[in-house]
């Protein structure tokens, strides 16, 4: 089967952009010095990378003549659940008193104000 050249170029560029963002997320996961900095890189860049790959897949499957409902479902699921899991990981890190290297060790985790 032959795709239209415009669709093929568009899908190829979307795939390259998504691979770039996934690689940037992994490099940020390795290179950044602190857990709370490291939490930023995969949760945003990798979500965008998976969204780009699924968009390219939806484009190719629509050009081949079938609707991509499963891809749309995966995209919605990933975009909804990535902030939730990042929030839960940040809560776990705050609970375990992980200290950041960018601040002083004494006031790395500020005391939470109790309920009045």
């Amino acid at each position: 089967m032959t795709l239209h050249p415009l669709i093929e170029w568009l899908a190829a560029s979307l795939l390259l952009v998504s691979a770039f963002f996934l690689l940037v997320g992994a490099v940020g996961l390795v290179r950044l010095p602190d857990f709370f900095m490291r939490l930023h890189a995969p949760t945003k860049a990798s979500t965008l990378g998976v969204g780009g790959a699924l968009l390219a897949s939806m484009l190719v499957s629509a050009a081949e003549g079938r609707a991509g409902f499963a891809e749309l479902l995966i995209t919605l699921f990933v975009f909804v659940t990535a902030p939730v899991s990042a929030n839960l990981m940040a809560q776990a890190a705050l609970h375990l008193r992980i200290s950041g290297t960018a601040t002083e060790p004494g006031d790395a985790v500020p005391e939470r104000a109790g309920p009045p």
């Binding site: 795939l15 997320g25 857990f35 990798s46 790959a53 699921f77 990933v78 839960l88």
Partner: protein, 93 residues
């Protein structure tokens, strides 16, 4: 179209995602705290979803997208359960 631009882009993207998975595995082994390892596992699940989607584009089958959906749901549930376990000391109350 023996060597199409889409196949070339699929090859390059698969290589980049594999490199990203290797970097996540380094953080999974190295990670100083347990939450670093949890974050590495979550990112590995996202990269696996992207890799399965690339395989589905290459093989022209819609079956692999349900596999990707299952992997995404398992990744979310395991991340939530591990984070709850680290926070409360108990996964399901």
């Amino acid at each position: 179209m023996s060597t199409s631009i889409l196949a070339l882009a699929l090859d390059i993207a698969a290589g980049a995602i594999s490199l990203a998975m290797v970097l996540c595995g380094w953080r999974l082994i190295r990670g100083p705290h347990v939450v670093d390892r949890l974050l590495a596992i979550d990112t590995l699940y996202l990269n696996a979803v992207a890799l399965i989607v690339l395989l589905g584009i290459r093989l022209h089958t819609p079956i692999l997208f349900e596999a990707a959906l299952v992997v995404a749901m398992l990744g979310f549930v395991s991340t939530v359960a591990l984070a709850r376990y680290l926070t409360r000391g108990d996964a399901i109350e």
